[in-house]
Assembly symmetry: C2
Homo-oligomer: 366 residues x 2
Amino acid sequence: MSRVWNFSAGPAVLPEEVLSRAASEMLDWHGCGMSVMEMSHRSKEFAQIIGEAEEDLRALANIPETYKVLFLQGGASSQFAAVPLNLLRPRDDGAPGVADYLVTGSWSKKAWKEAQRYGDARLAASTEAEGYTRIPKADELALSPDADYVYLCENETIYGVKFPELPDTNGVPIAADVSSCFLSEPFDIGRYGVMYGGAQKNIGPAGTVIAIVREDLIRDDVAPACPTMLKWKTQADAGSLYNTPPTWGIYICGLVFKWIIAQGGLPELKARNQRKAALLYDFIDQSALFKATVAKEDRSIMNVPFVTGDAELDARFVAEAKEAGIVNIKGHRSVGGMRASLYNALPEEGVRALVAFMERFEKENA
Amino acid sequence: MSRVWNFSAGPAVLPEEVLSRAASEMLDWHGCGMSVMEMSHRSKEFAQIIGEAEEDLRALANIPETYKVLFLQGGASSQFAAVPLNLLRPRDDGAPGVADYLVTGSWSKKAWKEAQRYGDARLAASTEAEGYTRIPKADELALSPDADYVYLCENETIYGVKFPELPDTNGVPIAADVSSCFLSEPFDIGRYGVMYGGAQKNIGPAGTVIAIVREDLIRDDVAPACPTMLKWKTQADAGSLYNTPPTWGIYICGLVFKWIIAQGGLPELKARNQRKAALLYDFIDQSALFKATVAKEDRSIMNVPFVTGDAELDARFVAEAKEAGIVNIKGHRSVGGMRASLYNALPEEGVRALVAFMERFEKENA
């Protein structure tokens, strides 16, 4: 067996310890004679798995009891509908509910479009005309004082921009898609009304979504068109067991949470992630060949897009990197070039290997 | 390691060969240096996994190109909303679309309730008053000639009733939840408009849903309230890759399809499943202690509920069975007693062990 350096934007690299553990427990979890995939979701064994996963996540991220932790399905894309369906409140005069969307990349734009089905989803800011290369400043946001929520995608995976800080919304709840930065550093959940993310970037396999929702935003009187399965209250009332949850995904997320704790928690991961990102950005910023695409202050430490400016050279870089065991480094087609995703489970050694390869490639192509 | 006989209704027993294979490939799938969980869903490796899964399923079940195979998320419960959202057609005079629901257990009842949000979902038959112990006869169905579809749950997991044959709907498409009988025997897909099922009973881990939809029923002009992710066309147009699919679940389903092919396909599985069910039902029918709860002609060969008639004795049976390595045999709380699910991956040996245990228990408690 030979493992590669996997820079995939998601599904993405997982800690090797987690994979080994999952392999060793595959046919018999903790002596129960079954795989986790074979357990009833209502068994005491699975109750332990999901219970510990929630408990460890709450401990890791200081989530108080005033927030519910939901293990969901359907990808972040399903939450693009769930957010407006759960949060938009029609006005007394019958006017539709209002939301402000900050569009900083493909994912927030998709979410904004989806919300337009369900209410008055306003474009409070957009950097689309600038190719999503920065985050709008506070004074660029056209926030509606009466909005039901302000929506943002905290870290846009494709463009590699991240909110350096959350905007001041004057008490309006923030609904944030954190798929590609979830648990990459400490955060203050109190700043969010709703935080959700697909697991397949930083914390587990595709097919599991974790939503952390402030209790007062979990309501029974949601939009009548809201499918039962998209109503947060359905799963909040049932401890995420209204129907059969993605049990395997929750199990792997749970193992990843334990791995994070063993590494020293979110402060330690933040330090590592900053070191990894600095290694790569510092190299790029002094390079004559490679260029970063994002404004310095808004750069993601998770997803690092870069280009040579020559599409043919980019393609050769990607192909030769693969030969060198550096894989999934091709940029998204809407940005081109390269993108290195440096999620929690990617070791610093992998970033060093990438930088060394870039140095060599630059010399060879000077 | 000691494996048990797992009679869970779902998530449920998987073939040991599949689990061993998944364990051995966990850190490095086919020499690519990554786990399946770590692969980009747009990689050539995953294209092979999902491509083979679809191809094998089509071959196994004779699915022609006029039907789309969709790999979805959200559980069958999400399809309870997706079916009406995709299939109900408002009338020219503005009246809502009409559907006929055959309610034969908890799952079809839930689906019927969900559909009422979206149109005129009629109760065309119900056996609720009889405790869901049989399937309604053809002459009991109050079918609407103008219905957009007829909905049924072909095998009700909790009550253990199965349609011995599909009703004649006079050309109205049948939408069927087949979660707990999917791939347990050959079927004629031409009889269905839509067939869908959660994977976690007969074919894989929880979190993956497979829908097989007749092409003409996949439409762009669905209900305006339909979330993008519940619109079948979204995934049909994208080969199930509109967003990140549940990659691990699809991989395991694919391994199970290959396992089914290696066993001899659906005719062989049907023969085995009938043999397994006959072993258990024949014992129950001659027993002085145990009683089956379902009319003979409507009995499921997948889920076999039975009772002693004495709740205390039932509880003792369940507890002692567990000691003997026969697990997840407790009946659903709405039926009580016991339920043995005899899915494809449960070996005949497991049923023999159960029957032997029941014989012993009966003698000891005569």
